[in-house]
Amino acid sequence: MISIRNVSKWFGEFQALKKCSAEVHKGEVVVICGPSGSGKSTLIKCVNGLESFQEGEIWVDGISVADRKTDLPKLRSRVGMVFQHFELFPHLSILDNITLAQCRVLGRSKKQAVEKAVQLLELVGLAEQKPKFPAQLSGGQQQRVAIARALAMDPIAMLFDEPTSALDPEMINEVLDVMVELAQSGMTMLVVTHEMGFAKRVANRIIFMDRGEVVEDRPKQTFFENPETNRARQFLSKILTH
């Protein structure tokens, strides 16, 4: 479904990604973890073309992201993305946040879009919030709306870029619960996160990145029980000790 092959990216002199490769098959949940500044967020943003890269290839459902002829808006409309800072549109109500792209990009009627939005708001447990504005919701609620907004496009895969990093601790679980449910429903997911509990529960594979490189890419059991590299072992010991 998502195939990342030897992707390299430079910001000026600085090489942010070094020949990164990874595969996400249909229905798989793959978690990317690693220290901050290791290139995780940059890599996931390359998948839907929000970041460009200079070398390598990324294929999503058989379509090349870097190909100049690719209709990127169309590709992006089929791949949902959830951001660290939610990025709900503050000038629109919760309902309008979820219907906007359905109407403008997919050409759905207002009625269809509203039906879909209500159905998804119920899924994330926020149906009664639909007339409110984003700033009236808590962080956890906003992130659940953001997930609903992405799902409203009926995506073939979902990208999560540190979806719980900006949340207060007591709100993390409400977001993870939605993500777990989504994973169990068979959604293809690529998730950048430090939430190892989530990874242990639903991930098929773990990708460990450090300094722009994919250092490990292994099934979760072997990754947690027996990390291959020192760098991964150190990282795990730092975040799992408490």
């Binding site: 943003k45 839907n48 929000l50 808006p73 169309k74 992006r76 409309s77 089929r78 791949v79 949902g80 993305m81 951001f83 800072h85 990025e87 709900l88 549109f89 503050p90 000038h91 906007l100 792209a101 403008r104 990009v105 997919l106 504005f133 700033a135 009236q136 919701l137 808590s138 907004r149 992405a150 496009m153």
Partner: protein, 230 residues
């Protein structure tokens, strides 16, 4: 020195005619200025280097020339030239057209900078969120970025319009009878120039103070409702 205010009540209808001219210049200057300013801001931020440069040049030129000179040039050279080409041989009263054109184009350069700052104040994350949903750049700009930018900028846009309202008095240099020039003329004719100028000043003061108060109120109302802190 004794003041003689007696000529004011009788001249109010004449002054009102001038006020209509003043308000028309303000309204047209602000509306066209905002539309053109938005266009200039979008060009300035467009990926095309040429368009961006052209927009920057426009803004720099107009912001570097005193408004009085802009009015003079439009009055003496540009408008007669253009009208001469379009309607050869006709003699038209051009003062009003000149004022509207000059103010619109001049104000656009100021509005462009305000709106550009507004667009830049919306974070890249919002842009990415729009793109990630499959919208193209124009859609993101129109549906996500501009509504937020303009909303944030409304107080500044209106404040600029209040400045424009005051600056419109400069049309006296092209012999256009706005409120101030009417007052000046009446005062000159009747012999109560000091009183008329003081009165005109008071009118500007009251209108601008009231308008500023309204802008503050509006600013409060526009703030998007935030979460109540329990």
């Amino acid at each position: 020195m004794a003041f003689d205010w007696s000529s004011i009540p009788g001249s109010l209808p004449i002054l009102w005619q001038g006020m209509i001219v003043t308000l028309q210049i303000t309204l047209v200057g602000a509306l066209v200025g905002i539309l053109l300013g938005t266009l200039l801001a979008l060009l300035r931020l467009s990926p095309s280097r040429l368009l961006s440069w052209l927009s920057a040049a426009y803004v720099t030129v107009f912001r570097s020339i005193p408004l009085v000179m802009v009015l003079f040039w439009f009055h003496l050279i540009l408008i007669p030239l253009v009208v001469g080409l379009l309607f050869p041989g006709k003699r038209l009263e051009l003062g009003f057209i000149t004022a509207l054109t000059a103010f619109s184009l001049f104000e656009a350069s100021y509005y462009a900078e305000i709106i550009r700052a507004g667009i830049l104040s919306v974070t890249k994350g919002q842009f990415n969120a729009g793109l990630a949903l499959g919208m193209n750049r124009r859609q993101v700009m129109r549906l996500v970025i501009l509504p937020q930018a303009l909303r944030r900028m409304i107080p500044l846009l209106l404040t600029q319009a209040i400045i424009l309202f005051q600056d419109s008095t400069l049309v006296y240099v092209i012999n256009l009878d706005d409120f101030f020039r009417k007052a000046y003329n009446v005062g000159n004719t009747v012999g109560t120039l000091n009183e008329m100028i003081l009165f005109a000043g008071a009118v500007y003061l009251v209108i601008c103070t009231l308008a500023s108060g309204c802008v503050r109120q509006l600013h409060r109302k526009l703030t998007v409702p935030a979460r109540e802190i329990a």
